[in-house]
């Protein structure tokens, strides 16, 4: 079948990743098609996301960037009528063929709006993934809670009120709590779907810092509508337009010498 043919990626020919040609591939997306009912959103996307980097996905709204990221841990399927076809290789397995529950433990996700569990305390929120999956060892849970909160740069702010409700925190803190919650199950990949769109600039800054810090431990993919954010946090950027991947390469190169006219138009603000 045509769609199964591995397609060489355009920027690989140019060799943009001269400095890290050795970087391993974490996720390999082949001819990914997805949509809702009969309406296609992704029209055959090919992409190789490198391990332990931050990759940003940008593009005008409706371009399919959220759908793409939601396919990576199959949250896309949680929407009734959603369709998805193609190949997402993750550690040698096709993510579309394994149990989504197991997949999601390895590919965590943080959403647009902070969504801590309203009935749980801060500590319970962080521990939720472990506890709901049957971990009972209290000492190990406490240790994971602290470690995850530290990685999410939230520990110092909440260490004295771990038993306070998670929804009592500020918006920015809630979002970092959600990041800590996702990190607690130790995923290999962390997906963030416009995580700062509901936050103020200071809270956004904190989250950007922590993303840069955690990237040497896991692979980060972030969807953002904010090009400055992409430029600040990511090493690689994907530019999407109308369900297709237009350009993919080193962030610093894409923002200085975009290869495609459409990318140039977008980053210079000429449309959208």
């Amino acid at each position: 079948m045509d769609m199964m043919r591995p397609m060489p990626l355009p920027e690989m020919k140019e060799g943009p990743a001269t400095n890290d040609a050795s970087a391993a591939v974490a996720i390999s997306v082949r001819d990914l098609r997805a949509g809702y009912g009969a309406a296609p959103v992704l029209k055959g996307v090919n992409l190789e996301i490198r391990e332990k980097t931050v990759t940003a996905i940008i593009g005008p709204s409706g371009c399919g960037k959220s759908t793409l990221i939601r396919c990576l841990n199959r949250m896309h399927e949680a929407i009734p009528g959603a369709t998805c076809d193609g190949e997402i290789l993750l550690g040698g397995r096709n993510a579309l063929e394994i149990d989504p529950v197991l997949l999601r433990r390895e590919v965590g996700m943080v959403f647009q709006r902070p969504n801590p569990f309203p009935t749980m305390t801060i500590a319970q929120n962080v521990a939720a993934g472990l506890v709901l999956n049957g971990v009972r060892d209290r000492a190990a849970i406490a240790e994971t809670v602290e470690k995850s909160l530290r990685r999410a740069a939230l520990w110092d702010e909440v260490k004295d009120k771990l038993d306070a409700p998670g929804v009592g925190l500020s918006g920015g803190q809630q979002q970092r709590l959600c990041i800590a919650r996702a990190l607690a199950v130790e995923p290999r990949v962390l997906l963030l779907d416009e995580p700062c769109s509901a936050l103020d600039p200071i809270a956004t800054g904190r989250i950007e810092e922590l993303l840069i810090q955690i990237k040497d431990q896991l692979t980060v993919v972030i969807v953002t509508h904010n090009m400055q954010q992409a430029a600040r946090v990511s090493e690689y950027t994907v530019f999407m337009l109308m369900g297709e991947m237009v350009e993919y390469g080193l962030t610093r190169k894409m923002f200085t010498q975009p290869a495609d006219k459409r990318t140039e138009d977008y980053i210079t603000g000429r449309f959208g």
Partner: protein, 283 residues
């Protein structure tokens, strides 16, 4: 002439709104009138002894309604134990998987059961339990009340579960938690307050039901002895005493009505206050 017409229109306006104010006063004043009258009539016969003593034999003055209070607690309690879990879990089913034909049929059945008069539900419990066993029983009364509770609890549960934002479900699913655990341990507790309040209100509702108990729990002037024998309940005692020819029993009916009313009011007011700060779901 135009002025005259306008003056007339203004008069009609004022008159009609005065009338609607009277309607509102009647509608809301009725409750106060009822509460006031029951308190006035019932308070004089109310005492600690009335609550803790058994009824006296026919013809003797005095006695209490201890057996009715215990009986109501037992019958309503068992009804809750049967009706609330069924209603909540069926509600979870409708909220989580409620799209197909089966769910439509269940929803329709719940609507029908909700509209069936309570006396007809009593008939059902009679045909189901009393008639085959040839005996009135506490159990049959509980079953009747449980059938009344189930559709109420079910629709309430479904409604509150639907209020839980999809983002909460997404967050839990994205942690790699299986769906049944997400539903049971994340979604259900999030709607917990609303569901619990609905269950409480359903309990208060059936605690005041009389009609389905007349030929199921039946009533009993003696200490209750087990689930398979007739049992006294508060509303049924109020009914029997009220239609009796004895002055003393009339007074006792008022006092018992005061107890029942206070219980029902307490639950209703608590439920409202409790639900107000957040409607069971986060904003």
């Amino acid at each position: 002439m135009n002025d005259a017409l306008y003056a007339r229109r203004k008069k009609v306006n004022a008159l009609m709104f005065a009338l609607t104010a009277v309607c509102a006063a009647v509608a809301s004043g009725t409750l106060l009138a009822i509460l006031g009258y029951i308190a006035w009539q019932g308070a004089s016969s109310l005492s600690w002894a009335f609550l803790t003593n058994m009824p006296k034999p026919l013809g003797e003055h005095g006695g209490g309604i201890a057996n009715s209070i215990v009986g109501s607690a037992k019958v309503v309690g068992l009804a809750g134990l049967m009706g609330i879990p069924v209603g909540v879990l069926a509600g979870v089913y409708l909220a989580e998987y409620g799209r197909g034909k089966y769910a439509f049929a269940v929803r329709y059945a719940a609507d029908v059961m909700n509209g069936v008069p309570s006396i007809v539900v009593g008939l059902f419990a009679y045909a189901l339990i009393v008639h085959p066993m040839k005996k009135f029983s506490a159990l049959s009364g509980s079953v009747a009340l449980a059938f009344i509770m189930v559709p109420i609890v079910l629709r309430n549960t479904e409604e509150f579960l639907r209020l839980v934002p999809g983002t909460i479900r997404e967050a839990a699913l994205a942690l790699g938690v299986p769906r049944w655990k997400v539903t049971l341990f994340v979604i259900l507790p999030t709607a917990g307050r609303g569901i619990l309040t609905g269950a409480l209100l359903a309990l208060a509702r059936v605690a005041g039901e009389t009609a389905p108990l007349i030929f199921t729990a039946f009533g009993n002037r003696f200490a209750d002895n087990g689930w398979l024998n007739p049992i006294a309940t508060l509303p049924h005692t109020i009914f029997t005493y009220a239609i009796s020819p004895y002055e003393d029993w009339h007074n006792q009916a008022w006092a018992a009505a005061l107890i029942l009313m206070l219980f029902v009011l307490l639950i209703n007011v608590t439920a409202r206050v409790w639900l107000r700060p957040s409607s069971g779901a986060p904003h």
